[in-house]
């Protein structure tokens, strides 16, 4: 085997390679967690609380235990004590307290899944029920509202409030201003593959097939919570059917399945969440209430940007959505203020959902920008161009690569924006009001520390590249193979990638659009070390484990990706039905590793943005406390028939600051701004400004 020079003459990066795991997936032979062949499994079903707040006062498991085939019934009365309750989300079955409806308060293990399900329904719990509150009715978005509190930081560690200049003075002196209250809905991540855990305790060691975005994260959590030495826990997850953030951290089910496995040593315990359970305890996007105030001078330059965001958190654990953070950097203004407040109510723990923070925040900011454009009589593309800041307004650092204006211009050109009549409610075509709208997209470019990869020369002339990364349907199997091929100077067919196993070198979570950047950088770092150690003709068995190298000066620039999205919306004049016949995005995201998998990331995220705009809404019944439309017939996600002409384009570029590949990360930016583009287009179509998502037919009647 000979390794070619780096960089290669015809790089694998950039090649339109088919998904390496595509054939396995379309033939149904890629083993997801539940399909991992395990011997003689038993099946777990969870018992969920039917009150939203209170205490369990009595437990009667007699009927459940009497059912033939039932092996184990766990509740707080008999479950093993966990070793750490630092994170209360994972202190499952430890106390009789109920903090939200649908909480895991018990589990049944049986010889078959049907019996487990039947027995779970036979566990009788008596409650002392306390009054609960589950609706984010932040009637005030004022940061001093007594119902709300100020978290110490917002996800993951941003400052809670910021203020530059004097926003009130800026607004007072503005030639045009808008003051807009908006809201986004409670949304549940709905990956196709349900959350799944299959675990066995054997000789003191725990093996876990899990559906997760990060095997090392799950391993670390389980070891801590269960009090096991890290080397005794192995988590495997080679194929994951989507996560959208909800599998970025473990959730109570992983702990429960492992508690059961520890109680039944030697047996594989299998659990897959029902769709209804995925609305109860596997994380979701908090609803938000936002107030955005913008002021502009006579030339359309922003003189004030103020963004107050309220979201909800659980009593069990805090999650603070960083909704207003985008307004700190998106447009230039001498006066910028952002605040975040939380209502702590009796709800499940909110968590990450694709572009947490940026997604709801850019809805607020970009709808307000459109309203400002209308108020100022300016074209909405032009308003954004005029306010493109030369340096990051928040830090004063130069931009790594800010090409928002290029995205807006190219998008306008491709979409046919020129000559647009700005007046709303002017175009009635075949009974439909037609309009167009635009919004910007943004997402930070991140790399996570601590990643390592192991390169090993194999007997057959191939190179094994191992890292505990996750492919959650994004294309990581393919993209990482391409990166490894170039870094090692061999063809992609010579790379044997191994991912999704916590026995492989440490990898960070597939989240924050940082996966390819972080894991890829580790692979490039390890490849370099491998070449140094073993030369261009490594002998079989030669192996090197190494991590990523720092990019000099990375911290001296503000690193973000940008984009522009254009939507055409039709609203039926008689019935109010809303359709999006066209959606077009142009993105500036650094170098593209694989145009095929990249395109599907953008198209998927834009579709998800359309879904947020038009369809998705978890309806919580305040009397009961849970999401009542908790299945895919009632919780609407945009269907194929809703997607007509959907286009994603990107600028041809290479980032010099993030990592050696020149990439930034593309998984999330496509959902950022989409909903605003749709709302703005719906306003242009009808003259009706919908500020509360989703944009449904009734809002136009």
């Amino acid at each position: 085997m000979t390794l070619q020079a780096d960089p290669p003459s015809s790089p694998a990066i950039g090649a339109d390679l088919e998904r390496l795991d595509g054939a396995l997936k379309v033939t149904g032979t890629a083993p997801y967690a539940y399909e991992q062949p395990v011997e003689d499994p038993v099946f777990l079903q969870v018992v969920q609380s039917t009150i939203a707040r209170g205490r369990i006062t009595a437990v009667d498991t007699a009927e459940a235990e009497a059912l033939p085939g039932v092996l184990l019934v766990l509740t707080h009365e008999n479950a093993r004590r966990v070793a750490s309750t630092d994170d209360l989300e994972f202190a499952v079955l430890q106390e009789p307290d109920v903090a939200y409806r649908g909480q895991v308060v018990g589990a049944v293990v049986a010889e078959d899944a049907e019996t487990a399900r039947q027995a779970a329904a036979l566990v009788r719990l008596t409650y002392d029920e306390q009054p609960h509150r589950v609706i984010l009715d932040a009637t005030s978005t004022h940061p001093d509202s007594p119902d709300l509190y100020k978290p110490a930081a917002v996800n993951p560690s941003f400052e809670t409030d910021t203020e530059q200049g004097d926003v009130e003075a800026g607004l007072a002196g503005a030639a045009t201003w808008v003051d807009v209250r908006l809201s986004t809905a409670w949304l549940n991540n709905n990956p196709l593959e349900p959350h799944t855990t299959v675990a066995r305790s054997h000789g003191g060691a725990l093996t876990v097939h899990d559906s997760t975005q990060g095997v090392h994260t799950v391993k670390g959590t389980l070891a801590t919570v269960l009090g096991l030495p890290g080397e005794q826990v192995r988590v495997l997850s080679p194929y994951v059917g989507g996560g959208f953030g909800s599998k970025g951290n473990p959730h109570p089910h992983e702990v429960v399945v492992c508690l059961a496995a520890l109680a039944l040593p030697g047996r594989w315990v299998k659990y897959a969440a029902t769709r209804q359970q995925m609305f109860a305890f596997t994380g979701y996007r908090t609803p938000t209430v936002q107030r955005v105030r913008l002021g502009a001078d006579a030339d359309g330059h922003l003189v004030a940007v103020s963004h107050d965001a309220v979201s909800q958190t659980a009593t069990v654990k805090e999650f603070a959505e960083q909704t207003a953070v985008v307004s700190r950097l998106m447009y230039g203004s001498p006066n910028i203020r952002t605040t975040h407040r939380l209502a702590v109510i009796d709800v499940p723990i909110p968590s990450w959902m694709r572009a947490p923070g940026e997604c709801p925040g850019m809805f607020g900011l970009e709808v307000a920008m459109d309203e400002l454009a209308v108020a100022a009589g300016l074209d909405p593309v032009e308003l954004r161009v005029r306010n493109d800041p030369p340096v990051d307004p928040e830090t004063g650092k130069p931009w790594g690569q800010r090409h928002l204006v290029e995205c807006l211009r190219e998008g306008a050109e491709r979409f046919g924006w020129a000559g647009r009549d700005p007046r709303p409610r002017q175009r009635l075509v075949d009974g439909w009001w037609v309009g167009t709208g635009v919004a910007s997209s943004v997402y930070p470019a991140m790399s996570m520390p601590g990643n390592e990869a192991r390169i090993t020369a194999l007997d057959d002339g191939c190179l094994e590249v191992g890292i505990g990364a996750a492919d959650i349907g994004t294309g990581a199997w393919t993209a990482l193979s391409q990166i490894a091929a170039d870094a090692l100077g061999v063809g992609v067919e010579r790379i044997r990638l191994r991912i999704g196993d916590s026995d492989l070198p440490n990898a960070s979570v597939a989240g924050g659009s940082s996966g390819t950047s972080s894991w890829g950088a580790a692979i490039v770092g390890a490849a370099g070390a491998f070449r140094v150690q073993h030369g261009a003709r490594p002998a079989p068995g030669a192996s090197t484990t190494a991590g990523m190298l720092d990019v000099p000066g990375a911290d001296d620039v503000a690193q973000y990706s940008f984009g522009a999205q254009f939507a055409e919306v039709r609203v039926h004049a008689d019935t109010g039905e809303v359709r999006v016949p066209r959606l077009l995005g142009v993105f500036s995201v650094g170098r593209i590793v694989n145009p095929r998998t990249a395109r599907s990331q953008f198209l998927g995220a834009m579709t998800m943005g359309m879904s947020m705009a038009l369809h998705e809404q978890s309806v919580v019944d305040p009397r009961f406390g849970h999401v009542v439309n908790h299945d895919l017939a009632e919780y609407h996600i945009t269907a194929n028939a809703d997607v007509v002409d959907l286009q994603a384009h990107w600028l041809d570029e290479r980032d010099a600051h993030r990592n050696p590949m020149g990439t930034r990360g593309i998984g999330e930016i496509g959902i950022v701004g989409t909903a605003a583009a749709v709302v703005n287009a719906a306003h242009h179509a009808t003259g009706v400004r919908v500020r509360d998502l989703p944009v449904t037919a009734d809002k136009f009647l």
């Binding site: 019935t575 009397r623 009542v628 009632e634 269907a639 809703d642 037919a697």
Partner: protein, 338 residues
């Protein structure tokens, strides 16, 4: 989910006898609705008699006109039937507006008629529901009502019947042919589904052991100018917020014949007789259509959360009748036999 016994019926009479003999028994069609309810613990049968393979899968011509649709004819097959598409487009369109291609390939005619409400509280055994447990009250009242009734509801139940096909059938006045423990019954379609009143647990007038064997659709030439319009939040795979089935015959600019039925607004397909009455003989104009819709909707009692259905339904009625008027004029203009 509880254990239950399963048998496959060989003939209709045997199926009826088996179910009639066991108060815990029920019929199973394709199971696209019933199996969900087994898993959700909403239905708890002791025995299921599978009738989906009975030889009732033909769409036959009836002497003197009309069609006789077997109970196990799949929704896709019925929608695609040339006679249905030509003579009763409203029925074909209604079928195709329902569910998804995969579900329609499975779902049976009888199962579709007898599918149960999608009310989220009915489908969630952790919440009270009088349709599931008589006397336990209606959780939808004061709750999530987007898919709930605005016509003919009661304080015990505000659920809607979810079928699109049934709304399409309602304007064709078919007869539902039933084999019961006491022999054959012929039930006019308009009498099959009930309003909830104080016994919402009963969706229809059928008795235990009654097997639907056929639906007989009479000849009705006016139905060639007919349409089904479903208003829903997403373009596919969503139940109706409201829907309208309409047959319209226009002569010299006036409504010569009209039939209207609404979906998504009541516990049964809602035949809009008051609107039909008002339309007959009147000029085929948007004003008349709107007035007719308003006449029918005068009785509407929306819930907080679904008042939009009144203007939405009015808009849908106007849109459908306008389209059918245009189609009628076009057909008259070309002298085409529609």
């Amino acid at each position: 989910m509880r254990p239950f016994a399963y048998v496959r019926a060989d003939d209709a009479a045997g199926a009826v006898a088996t179910v009639a003999a066991d108060p815990e028994a029920g019929f199973l069609g394709a199971g696209t609705n019933l199996v969900d309810h087994l898993k959700l613990d909403v239905e708890r049968p002791g025995l299921l008699v599978d009738v989906s393979r009975l030889p009732l899968d033909a769409v036959e011509d009836v002497e003197g006109g009309g069609l006789r649709v077997g109970a196990t004819v799949r929704n896709s097959a019925l929608a695609a039937d040339r006679r249905v598409r030509h003579d009763y487009p409203v029925l074909s369109q209604a079928l195709l507006a329902g569910a998804t291609g995969q579900l329609r390939n499975m779902a049976t005619t009888a199962g579709n008629l007898l599918q149960r409400t999608r009310c989220v509280y009915f489908r969630d055994v952790t919440t009270p529901c009088a349709k599931r447990e008589p006397g336990s009250g209606c959780s939808a009242i004061g709750g999530y009502t987007r898919y709930h009734a605005v016509l003919g509801a009661s304080s015990h139940c505000i659920a809607t019947h979810p079928s699109d096909m049934a709304v399409g059938m309602a304007v064709l006045d078919p007869v539902v042919v039933v084999l019961g423990p006491g022999g054959e019954k012929r039930i006019p379609f308009a009498e099959l589904h009930r309003l909830p009143g104080d016994s919402p647990e009963r969706d229809t007038v059928l008795e235990h052991g009654d097997l639907i064997t056929h639906v007989e659709v009479p000849a009705y030439p006016a139905a060639r100018n007919s349409a089904y319009r479903k208003v829903r939040d997403r373009a596919s795979y969503a139940f109706a917020l409201v829907s309208v089935a309409a047959v319209l015959e226009v002569t010299d600019g006036r409504v010569a014949d009209v039939r209207l039925a609404f979906g998504g607004v009541a516990h049964r397909p809602w035949r809009a007789l008051a609107a039909e009455e008002l339309l007959r003989g009147q000029p085929a104009t948007e004003e008349t259509f709107r007035a007719a819709a308003d006449a029918e909707l005068a009785a509407a009692e929306p819930q907080p959360g679904n008042a939009f259905k009144v203007p939405m339904l009015r808009g849908a009625v106007v849109a459908v009748l306008r389209d059918l008027t245009t189609a009628a004029a076009r057909a008259a203009g070309t002298g085409e036999d529609r």
